[in-house]
Each structure stands twice: as structure tokens, then as C-alpha cells.
Symmetry: C2
Subunit: 276 residues, 2 copies
């Protein structure tokens, strides 16, 4: 099943793909749908086809967006570290997220870098969950790019201030349910900048897989339907290159996981306020 | 003005102290009140006195709880670091918070430590705010203890997993408005464990003051009414002692800022679920 939040003439709606048609689900977005219907068969709820439906940010209101760093063996090696015994975790906010085709609007002068990632959508309340409970609690998978402001990330030991710039983490375009894809069997995670492939790896090489991450996090804090966990990025980020490479105004960042879909976001450096 | 969320026979209410009487404000808690009334004189809203009012967690639903580490010169020195040019920031969740008299229920076997802190309550929406705008956007000040699970905090470079255990960060008992107290003029921040003073310093020695922190954070993410910013802890934490000292089952942690109030929380080590 492929789920999305779609924009249409009258607003937005949660939706499920039926052939080429997005059929309405009874919520304005997937955040609301998952919060209300975590135990219900979504197919049974599908309504009419939506004219002119365009997938937007699928989960606009997660209460928690938790990210794992250093989770692909080759990316760990390029940062000069050893394979970890525990996941490195940091956070973003719902405010950090933006849509699959949105411009990434940031002030000029920042060192902005790409990090293509598989994201896990939580489907049930998880609290001190074991691996099997965590696995059963996954609502689906989507694509994210953990766009990182490297100069702010490395100002201090804690990465948060380089990771949580408003409206800079694209997510989407769809959420694919676990009956259709399995990261353990292998999903390619690809990033291209202006058409040039800069990252490509496979989720088979994750040090901590989605069930590991959800179980681990749920030891200290509850996860709820609609929460997002980003599983980390493979090698090939700009900050680790020789010479270092950062995104420029007008650069087009494509983030793709075949079997889920593709984000396409253009960097726009301009002054202005954060998004509301 | 002293504001609180108070429990009473019929539930909870936002309230303002009038002499010895808590008068009801039109919201179930301060989170709801600040979200709805950031531009309104709260005194004008005060209603009837509430019988048997008991202050509880004043802000149960902040969207953002952002914490500053390494912000008192002596605490920075005890961790072996130099004075920073930028604030070190990490996050907690609304789920991390608990009330001024609540037990701190954690699984046995963790290295649990104290961190007495001044907390700032955001009163308006702040986005790319300068210092003066940030200062004017402060709704008030309260007391917090950034209880930290040190073994998890130091498992990786990122502190988050040791800082965001559910229901382990007491906050309260009241929020005092900026017309009554000024951290720049000096507030004593005190922590006692079983009656023994373990921390005492003054907010005059903060490296980054509340307005600095709000302005800095608002550069990358919007702050909204009811959000909380914890300003960091002074020297004297258990992990930096020789020998190290951590909290034991039954230990009573008192966190006090004269002019605001005092938290009194008992550590309870027991297995069980996170709070909902």
C-alpha cells in the first residue's frame, strides 16, 4: 500500500494509491490518520478518487522526529570512526520538515550538505518495546534528506543546531507499508546533486535496522503513531569529501529510494524568516 | 505575577496567585493559556479563587524543550572545557517533563545525575529575533532539574539519549513573570540531595543569558508561546565529582531558585513502562 498526504483544490487529504488514482482517506493528512486509526485497516477506509492530487509532506505533525547518525559502515569510516555499539541519536522537529518538491530556503553563507536517508513511520504506541514488537509497530517507510548545516552542526559537540533548521528536511513523497518493502532485504538509498550521483548504498548495510532503532528509542521515550525515525545516511556527504563540497544556490538535490519514490528539492539561499 | 497550572478537585486549571489564593485563568493549563493569550493581560482574565489548588507541571505541552549545556563558567571548567563561543544545545520532549513534587521513576541500574537549572518560558512567537525582541518575548521563569542518565548520555557523542527519559525532568512549581525577577541581576540556583547542598551558583555568571539563547535558537527554528528553554547547570554535578556520585533509590532531590520556588522529587528505581 502506498499512502500519502495529497494537496488538491480544496486543501489536503490523507490518501491511498489505487492504480493511478489517489483515493481519499478520512483525515486531512497522514499524521491525523495514523493518530486516529492505528488499529484500523486503511484499505477499508478508502473513499473517492481525488482529482489533481499532488503528494506533499506526508507527515506534517510528528511529535517526535528522531535521527540516527553514523549508521552505514562506509559513512562511519569516512568520518574516521569505529563501528558503534549504540546508535547515535539526535532530533529534529515537525518544523524542520518540508515537502518532496519544496525549495530548501536557507539564509546565505551556510555550509549546507545532503544526507539521503530511509525514514521509518511509527504506526503504534511503542514503549519499552522489544525488536519484534517494534517491527510490528512500523506503519511504513518513506524517503528523507537530513539536510545539515555543517558549520552550525560542528560549532559545539551537539549536532542539533545544525540539524533542525526550519523547513529544510524534505520527506516523502509517499509512505510504503511494510508488506510491500523490507529494508532488511535491501533498499537502495541514492542522492544526486544536479544529476550527479553523490551517495548510493543499500539498507542491508545498516548497523542498526529500523526495528533496532525503534526498540532502542522506546527504552527511554514513548513513540506514537506518526512519529518519524530517520535511519542515517550512507557515505558520500559533502563535508567528508576532499575538497569539501557544499550546496550552492540553485542546486537541485534528488533523494531516491527505488520502491518508495524520489524527492526533488532546489536550494534557495535568501534572507527571510523561518517558516511558520 | 506568579502563574501556575494547579490541580484541584475537578481537574487542572491555569491560575495566577493573588495573595495566598490561586485564581483561575481561562485554560486547563499554562501551555493552553500561553498559546491562546500571548497578547492579553493575564491579570484581567483572573477569575475565582480555587479551593485546594496544588501546583503541578506548569507547562505540560511545550512543542519545544531546548536545553543549553556548559553555560556556567565553573561547570564548564569542571568538565575540562574552555568557555564557548556558541551555546551547546540539545533537546528534551514534553514527555520528558514531570511535576514539582513527582517521583522520578526510572529503571534500576542507570547513572542518574542532577542538574539544577533556570528555565525560560517563551511568551510570543520568535523567529530570527534579536536580543531585545527575544527579551520582550519572555513570558517568565521557572525552575527545572535537567536530570541526566549519564551512562546513556555518554554512550555516543550526542547527549540526547541520556537527556530525554520520559517523566524525569521536574519543572515548576510556578512561572514568575519578568517584571518581578531578572536573571541578569542574579538568581541563586541551588540543588540539594537528601538535604546536602550539591550545587549553588548565580545566574549572573551565565555565559549565554536567556535573551541570548532565545535569539540564537530563533535563528534556525521558530519558538512559540509555551516553549521552554533550559539555561544550563552550574558546577557540582555528580558525574564530575571525585569519586563520581549518582542518585540512589529513595534519594530526595531539591531544586530551588529563591524568588521562584522549589522542586522536591524522590528517585524511585523500578521496572515498568514509560509514562504515557
Amino acid at each position: 500500500m502506498r499512502l500519502a498526504t495529497v494537496a488538491h483544490a480544496a486543501g489536503t487529504s490523507a490518501a491511498v494509491l489505487d492504480g493511478d488514482t489517489w483515493r481519499a482517506l478520512p483525515a486531512t493528512d497522514l499524521s491525523e490518520l495514523l493518530a486516529a486509526n492505528s488499529q484500523v485497516s486503511l484499505t477499508a477506509l478508502a473513499g473517492e478518487g481525488i482529482e489533481g492530487a499532488v503528494p506533499v509532506l506526508p507527515l506534517p505533525a510528528p511529535r517526535k522526529v528522531i535521527c540516527c547518525g553514523l549508521n552505514y559502515a562506509d559513512h562511519i569510516r569516512e568520518t574516521g570512526r569505529e563501528l558503534p555499539s549504540h546508535p547515535t541519536l539526535f532530533t529534529k522537529y515537525a518544523d524542520s520538515l518540508t515537502g518532496p518538491d519544496a525549495d530548501l530556503v536557507l539564509p546565505p553563507g551556510l555550509q549546507v550538505d545532503w544526507e539521503a536517508e530511509l525514514a521509518v513511520v511509527v504506526g503504534t504506541t511503542l514503549r519499552r518495546a522489544d525488536r519484534s514488537t517494534a517491527l510490528a509497530g512500523i506503519a511504513g517507510y518513506t524517503v528523507a534528506n537530513d539536510i545539515s548545516v555543517r558549520d552550525w552542526q560542528y560549532r559545539t559537540l551537539e549536532w542539533f543546531q545544525g540539524k533542525a533548521w526550519d523547513a529544510s528536511t524534505p520527506v516523502g513523497p509517499v509512505v510504503v507499508t511494510p508488506d510491500e518493502i523490507d529494508p532488511a532485504e535491501g533498499l537502495e538509498v541514492i542522492c544526486r546533486v544536479n544529476g550527479e550521483q553523490v551517495q548510493r548504498d543499500n539498507t542491508r548495510t545498516l548497523v542498526f535496522d529500523p526495528a533496532d532503532l525503534l526498540a532502542y528509542i522506546s527504552t527511554f521515550t514513548v513513540l506514537r503513531p506518526g512519529d518519524l525515525v530517520l535511519t542515517g545516511t550512507p557515505g558520500g556527504v559533502g563535508v567528508a569529501r576532499e575538497p569539501q563540497r557544499f550546496l550552492a544556490d540553485g542546486d537541485v538535490v534528488e533523494t531516491e529510494i527505488p520502491g518508495i519514490g524520489r524527492l526533488r528539492n532546489t536550494v534557495r539561499f535568501m534572507d527571510g524568516n523561518c517558516t511558520s
